[in-house]
């Protein structure tokens, strides 16, 4: 942290672009456990069957707390592509590619696309889930610090056979 001695070497949660994923800090931590297994999941209400995304703690339809984890498709079809050339947020690089993708009719997701060149991705192309590690978070337990390993996700073009 430039010039502020007390902050040197410290992890600053307020500057963290990724979600907290440890069970101590996020009740929907299973989403990230499932990501590590290559699964894309969300919660579904056992009382009214409503499926919400992102995963929830309370059903937004009937307010039940009786939720279960279900799998979403990990492959989808591209509907629209955007490629940002200038002014990307810190921590990301140009060109920053996003796409609106249709996950087999189950969910329409606006997501980052990785492993893709500018101009490569077109409407109708297939993409699939890509999970990757991101910076771990030091978590204080008593006087000890443990490192919570984290992942995040994007989608990448399916290699044409």
């Amino acid at each position: 942290m430039a010039g502020i001695k007390i902050l040197e070497g410290k992890y600053i949660a307020t500057m963290d672009i990724y979600p907290q994923q440890a069970k101590e800090f996020n009740r929907i931590y299973p989403f990230y456990e499932f990501l590590k297994q290559g699964r894309f999941t969300t919660t579904q209400c056992k009382d009214c069957n409503h499926q919400a995304f992102p995963p929830r703690v309370v059903c937004p339809n009937c307010l039940s707390e009786n939720l279960e984890w279900v799998d979403l498709p990990i492959k989808g079809t591209v509907k629209v592509v955007t490629e940002e050339e200038v002014g990307v947020p810190l921590g990301f690089e140009t060109p920053l590619i996003h796409a609106l993708i249709d996950l087999r009719g189950k969910l329409t997701l606006f997501t980052r696309i990785v492993n893709c060149k500018v101009g490569q991705l077109k409407e109708g192309d297939e993409v699939e889930l890509r999970v990757f590690p991101v910076d771990p978070v030091p978590i204080q337990i008593g006087k000890d610090f443990i490192l919570n390993e984290r992942v995040f996700y994007a989608f990448e073009p399916v290699k044409k056979q």
């Binding site: 430039a2 500057m15 672009i17 990724y18 979600p19 995304f53 992102p54 629209v80 955007t82 490629e83 940002e84 050339e85 200038v86 002014g87 990307v88 947020p89 810190l90 921590g91 990301f92 920053l96 996003h98 609106l100 969910l107 329409t108 997701l109 606006f110 997501t111 980052r112 995040f152 994007a154």
Partner: protein
């Protein structure tokens, strides 16, 4: 239920400022009080402060008492900060209106603004990720999201044949109208050619399709009709109707990318409150954070048919002399966009238009409308003002 009037308004200089947030609130407050010498800081019983990034950029919460102290205001009915990002200012006006209407307060100042430029300029390009769902959209690299609006523009162009030229016409009109606001960030018109050949940000959006990052504050004073009668010598301007709606927050839950359902819901409520329809609006300030936004706003506010936003501006219908002049003092594209200050700036321009004292006047304007969208086009906020209650 009492009638509520807007009786004064003013803004600080907007742009890249050599000033702190607290400095600009003082500047805006002073200009607001100078706008109407009949009302002083001793007459204010309520203060609502609208600022989205005070905590992040100025490391300051509990902002309202600080603004009160800085402006010599001693509130006794309400003293609070509100936040809805780009719609914070309009939200403050709606809340002030509700409190006065119901008798909880009599004379309320609504002041709003932001300090976004910090000594480490990279910080705002990082902090902006707080403006969308942090865990689910921010982590995908969406900041103050040009990609989302590029997505909207691409779909609108495909669905309705909207052209790049239509987008550029919005920039040209608003940069020209920006000459009508001496406090705005940009005070120089641009040509259609400049707009069409500018640097791409996220295609099809180029430099002039996007509003800038801005420091600045603004303030208005609302009063119950009874006090307004002796606290102003200008025509009384009433808040006639309000609406604020949201249907989604995270990007995956947007019901429709090219028709903004929540805008229509907020509009329906505001029009119904006011007892008017889109055809009765004489002048409007809508949320032109990006050029495509203004085009869709023409449609979903009911000024023109769905899909016809491009041809509507092409035919000059939203410029002075046209059917419904929109963004008469430059909009976000020209004045800039210090989030909490924007809805208030729009209210000031509408007040002046309806009082017949705008810098460039829409002849005979009697009913005006302001609109803001906020977040991932997630919420829409609308106010309707008029010369009759």
């Amino acid at each position: 239920m009492r009638n509520v009037c807007i009786i004064a308004g003013g803004m600080s200089q907007w742009g890249v400022r050599d000033a702190a947030l607290r400095d600009m609130f003082q500047e805006a407050g002073k200009v607001c009080f100078d706008d109407n010498k009949a009302v002083t800081n001793k007459d204010i019983d309520g203060l609502i402060v609208a600022s989205a990034y005070t905590e992040r950029c100025s490391f300051q919460t509990h902002l309202a008492p600080q603004v009160a102290e800085n402006l010599g205001i001693k509130p006794r009915s309400i003293c609070v900060r509100v936040e809805l990002l780009c719609a914070s200012g309009s939200s403050g006006i709606i809340l002030g209106y509700g409190l006065i209407r119901s008798g909880v307060a009599d004379v309320v100042m609504v002041a709003g603004g932001e300090k976004l430029y910090l000594p480490q300029k990279w910080e705002i390009f990082y902090s902006e990720m707080a403006s969308v769902d942090h865990d689910w959209d921010g982590a995908q690299g969406l900041g103050l999201p040009p990609p989302a609006f590029a997505m909207v523009a691409k779909q609108h162009m495909k669905q309705y044949g909207t052209k790049k030229e239509h987008l550029a016409l919005v920039s040209v009109k608003n940069r020209r109208n920006g000459m009508n606001n001496p406090k705005g960030q940009f005070r120089e018109p641009i040509t259609l050619e400049t707009a069409m050949t500018a640097k791409p940000i996220v295609p099809p959006l180029t430099l002039y399709d996007c509003c800038p990052i801005t420091d600045g504050c603004s303030a208005v004073i609302l009063a119950c009709e009874e006090k307004a009668k002796y606290l102003t010598d200008k025509p009384l301007i009433y808040i006639k109707g309000t609406g604020q709606a949201t249907l989604s927050s995270m990007s995956a839950n947007m019901p429709n990318w090219t028709t903004w359902e929540a805008l229509k819901i907020a509009g329906k409520k505001a029009y119904s409150d006011a007892g008017v329809g889109p055809q009765d609006i004489d002048v409007a300030q809508t949320h032109d954070c990006f050029t495509i936004s203004e085009i869709i706003e023409y449609e979903d506010l009911g000024f023109c048919e769905k899909g016809e936003g491009g041809p509507f501006i092409e035919a000059g219908k939203t410029d002075f002399g046209g059917q419904i002049p929109v963004n008469t003092d430059g909009g976000l594209l020209s004045c800039g966009h210090p989030f909490g200050g924007t809805g208030i700036r729009q209210g000031i321009e509408i007040m002046k238009q309806l009082q017949g004292r705008a810098v460039k006047q829409v002849e005979g304007a009697e009913i005006g409308l302001t609109h803001n969208l906020s977040g991932f086009i997630a919420a829409h906020t609308i106010l309707i003002y008029g010369r009759q209650p």
